[in-house]
Symmetry: C2
């Protein structure tokens, strides 16, 4: 079901331009560069105060978060039927929103989207765009080379203990899936060391480093893996789990041996930098097929 959602079957360049709504971080321009290299026509739509100025290296427009009417008009004018959402967008403070009439008339739907977890919000927002007749496409369709594939991406292949810990982590995170919470956990020697909820992966890794330093987690030498997968039913078109240099720095501080992710469902941000850092610090990144239980 996820594969269908992600629109992998769609040839990227045969259906006209894709508008890429850009959140913060360097990821929107990575996707833009990769999509352009694949011959995909794109228009970056930067969220003012959120996306960085580097998006202006590509065809672009700027809108305020909340200017929904303006955005829909822009896409109509340009005859753009497909849209992608890329980059970080923190749960917005309502006072930061600049609602235009296009947004205000959709307020009941927006309000409904804001009750519950992150996944719920994203799905609600997505439905708003689909209701306008737009097709929402994912990074896996626009720039598949940015995902972790199956197999060893970098480093020395994980040993049996690490592979077992990755599988254990997959089981833990799959059990958490119905509750729309964290996508990551740290497992070491068959034991759950940390589970992510609202704090995010980086803060979770800092906690693991602190547990080690305080002796609360007693272990000698490097041990344990970071495991990251999408949640069950998570819409990969708007919410791909990601790892990057910051993640790996956190893994090193936590004394982990590597990272195990669901193959084809997790992004690598700043790929070159990430791979170099992994090699320098002897960390592996392993993609493992995750049994889909979405259907």
């Amino acid at each position: 079901m996820s594969d269908e959602k992600a629109g992998k079957g769609a040839a990227a360049s045969s259906q006209g331009a894709v508008a890429i709504v850009c959140g913060s971080g360097g990821f929107p321009t990575s996707v833009a560069a990769e999509a352009t290299a694949r011959g995909q026509s794109i228009l970056l739509v930067g969220l003012k105060g959120i996306a960085g100025p580097e998006i202006e290296a590509f065809p672009h427009e700027w809108v305020h978060l909340g200017e929904m009417g303006g955005l829909f008009k822009l896409l109509e004018t340009r005859n753009i039927k497909r849209i992608a959402f890329v980059g970080a967008l923190k749960r917005p403070d309502l006072s930061d929103l600049r609602l235009d009439w296009g947004a205000v008339k959709r307020l009941p739907d927006i309000a409904r989207a804001f009750k519950g977890g992150d996944d719920h919000i994203l799905k609600g927002i997505l439905r708003l765009f689909e209701a306008e007749g737009l097709e929402v496409v994912g990074v896996d369709a626009l720039a598949p080379a940015l995902l972790v594939d199956g197999g060893l991406l970098v480093g020395t292949a994980p040993d049996a203990q690490a592979l077992g810990d990755i599988q254990f982590g997959f089981s833990v995170l799959t059990a958490m899936a119905p509750f729309d919470t964290g996508q990551a956990a740290v497992i070491a020697n068959n034991r759950v060391i940390a589970i992510e909820a609202a704090e995010g992966t980086d803060a979770m890794l800092e906690r693991v480093a602190a547990l080690r330093a305080s002796g609360r987690w007693k272990v000698k030498g490097r041990a344990g893996v970071l495991v990251k997968i999408p949640k069950k039913g998570q819409d990969l078109r708007v919410d791909l789990p990601a790892i990057g240099p910051t993640t790996l720095q956190g893994c090193v501080k936590a004394g982990l041996v590597g990272v195990g992710v669901a193959a084809g469902r997790v992004l690598v941000l700043d790929r070159e930098q990430t791979l170099v850092f992994a090699r320098q610090n002897n960390l592996f990144i392993q993609g493992i097929a995750q049994e889909s239980s979405d259907s």
Copy 2:
């Protein structure tokens, strides 16, 4: 099944003395006082370097952690057939253990017990004592007044949102049960804010306070509940979840409205102090029947 395990059916005073192996903290003497008040004959067995000197207010002996042979001989000499384990015992550093021959000959079983999570360790240790013909009894049998009963223990009754969040937390923790990890979570407005793993409840509450302070968890005023239940299959004779003044201080710093626990399965440490603090800070403590899925 837990009720049977806990030996609630056994009259506390009709079967001779109970040896109470004492870990750290003030809890062993609370249990000793309550058991004594109920007419139960007891012998406190302090773990050297771990239990506090206040245990000497009761009939007592001292042993080193690891002096298993010595402990078994002591119980035999005194004709004590029942034993309880009370107080905190961190995952011991193997170099702190003083193994006697009674322990060394059981090393294969002890080593087996140490692979896996906390629950696994405790069960393994428990089996060692049962293999010696001892009956292991729980605090719920020795001092039931120290547990949170069903209903409102203190504070203003939780509203519908808080009750829903408690039930949601029960569901989250029940889903985590097979993985022998945390017993606690923080839920607010149908959203999982934090899940406990190796860091413990107090550290989890500090994290929630930090998430609020940093604006990563955006919420106005007091909201959210701490939920705490035993794990599925957790042996309440050796591992009762507990709350106390420190827990409530953490709840106040995290801006929560109260605490929901599994009725009859969670201890209150320093009860009077806990209740006073709860009243002063307008926190509720609510016991709610947890559906048992152990059998």
